[in-house]
Symmetry: C2
Subunit: 109 residues, 2 copies
């Protein structure tokens, strides 16, 4: 993965980034849980149960890999979360302007 | 797997065996679906969602391997189904007595 060349991270930025990270993670899990419960309650065919199983397998794999909090990649993770609506642009204002711009630009790719 | 040495299978036995097989399979799937729906509706923690995922993975694997309808193994499969309560002894009366006895004996192992 490309390294970002933004300004060094302050301690406040790092702490707030981790807090927002956890928030997005919780939102994702809450959403997944709601989706699974809604889908499970509507299943009548076994094929749909296996489809739900496939969906869960894929999501678990995706979520396991997604929340990488190494500082070298966190800009990319936030861009992805912004793209997916798990983080809102207004929540990124604790970051220096160059980081916010970079995240927004990446999210549009 | 051991071969069974019971009397040859009549056409009627084979047909009824396959019908009972499908019935047991449907019972298993119905039971699994009910279990998953009940569990899913009670989940509040993500760990429990992953546990449900693990449970489904194991069940899918088990069910995929279990309903082996080759005549050489069907006695063993019925023994397993009997043991698990997916087939009742009274449902096996279409089979010659030696086959019923063998299934019941294997189910007690």
């Amino acid at each position: 993965m490309l390294q970002t060349a933004e300004a060094p991270w302050s301690q406040a930025e790092t702490q707030s980034a981790h807090a927002l990270f956890r928030k997005a993670y919780q939102r994702e899990l809450d959403g997944l849980l709601a989706t699974v419960q809604a889908q499970a309650s509507q299943i009548t065919q076994i094929d749909d149960l296996w489809k739900l199983h496939d969906f869960l397998s894929a999501k678990r794999h995706e979520i396991d890999g997604k929340y990488d909090d190494r500082q070298s990649v966190i800009i990319f993770v936030f861009a992805q979360l912004l793209k997916e609506g798990l983080v809102q642009a207004e929540e990124l204002t604790f970051l220096a302007a160059d980081k916010q711009s970079k995240i927004k630009a990446l999210a549009r790719l």
